[in-house]
Symmetry: C2
Subunit: 229 residues, 2 copies
């Protein structure tokens, strides 16, 4: 445990819930805490806000300092402020979340972390403080969001099959989807470009590859088109 520097706001922290999808299941990025309180525990990457820093900027900096992961677009989720949530003093934390592709980031433990790693959401270590609630809340939000917006294409390779896309959605939602209905819906959105290419060297019938149509997505967003999965 160390002293609180003067240029930070000592009563407000940010915690980041970074979800990752690697083609298998849903993962979450944790750091191992180098200092008290809860030294040695795996926890959400979090830290304090500087006096001259906006919230979104603080979230980015904190994540980068602890894990090395940068250029991640995060969204604010919720403020958690139970009186005794943090043992040393009163701290209210604001949570942020993002969904990323693990292999895009080389992780480097820094600042108050001595290790960083991805954990499967299904097999999580015990988390300190109220980090479990924070995680659950963010997961709810992610699931909600993924149903109403075409989220997550950036998590797949540039060229992907519809089955891969479906697995992604199933991993996030934690439930199985009907193949034909999924395809119908996703193709009707006109957000995928059929590349007229096939998978190579797979031990079964090769799937057609698609690409996310980000141009059309931008246009539709401007028009205020609502998506729904």
């Amino acid at each position: 445990m160390r002293e609180v520097p003067a240029n930070i706001l000592e009563s407000i922290s940010i915690d980041c819930v970074i979800f990752g999808f690697d083609g298998q299941g849903l993962k979450i990025l944790l750091i191992r805490r180098k200092y008290e309180p809860s030294e040695g525990a795996w926890a959400l990457p979090g830290g304090f806000i500087k006096r001259d820093e906006n919230l979104d900027d603080a979230a980015k900096r904190i994540l980068k300092d602890l894990t090395g992961a940068h250029d991640i677009y995060m969204e604010q989720v919720h403020a958690f402020g139970a009186v005794n949530r943090y043992p040393l003093r009163r701290v209210i934390t604001i949570s942020y979340y993002a969904l990323v592709k693990p292999e895009h980031f080389s992780l480097i433990a820094g600042a108050d972390a001595d290790r960083v790693d991805w954990f499967s959401v299904k097999e999580m270590p015990e988390l300190p403080f109220d980090h479990h609630s924070i995680l659950e809340y963010a997961l709810q939000k992610l699931r909600y969001k993924v149903r109403s917006q075409p989220v997550g294409f950036e998590l797949l390779p540039k060229k992907f099959s519809l089955t891969e896309l479906q697995s992604l959605y199933e991993a996030i939602l934690g439930e199985e989807l009907d193949k034909r209905n999924f395809r119908k819906k996703i193709l009707k959105m006109k957000l995928l470009v059929d590349l007229k290419e096939k998978q190579q060297s797979v031990a079964h019938r090769a799937a057609t590859l698609y690409q996310f149509d980000s141009k059309n997505y931008a246009i539709m967003q401007e028009k205020g088109v609502v998506f729904d999965l």
Copy 2:
């Protein structure tokens, strides 16, 4: 302007966006600020959090101290933390909102407010700091919510007509709804009890009165039934 007491967290405030519906239009509860900064301006009721107070409790207390309105269930909306949003020092604010029936509350300006009043959302005074953004954000949330959940029954008299209910929804959404379709949908939800009673002494055909079926609502919520208006 006064000193910051020691038992409060000086960098975190709460601002309350209290929407009211009085049968006519959507209103919002504002206070007139008694002290600098922005002394004399109409603003959202807001204040600082005490060290031994949870967020939700703080929101309730702050609202009560400034306006006299109590027993209002508020929900957290968003944290706003632009570096210069508050002129005196760095303050991050967490917004809360609620939707209530104005005539249920006797307003008493207190603490840092010398007046309290309801304003039509359509004719708002200039608000200080980033209160306008905070209000807009809460309004978005309210509109969103009212479409997906049976919100707002508590704003009407215990016995109400379908037309009154429809006016409420129209006021919140800021758009007109089709009478027949509205009735079809709302009745299909099985959330209203037909009281087999008629309005009294109205200068036209009397409408049937209904009551919100909170018992059935609780049951349906448990089952996870999704509503959609």
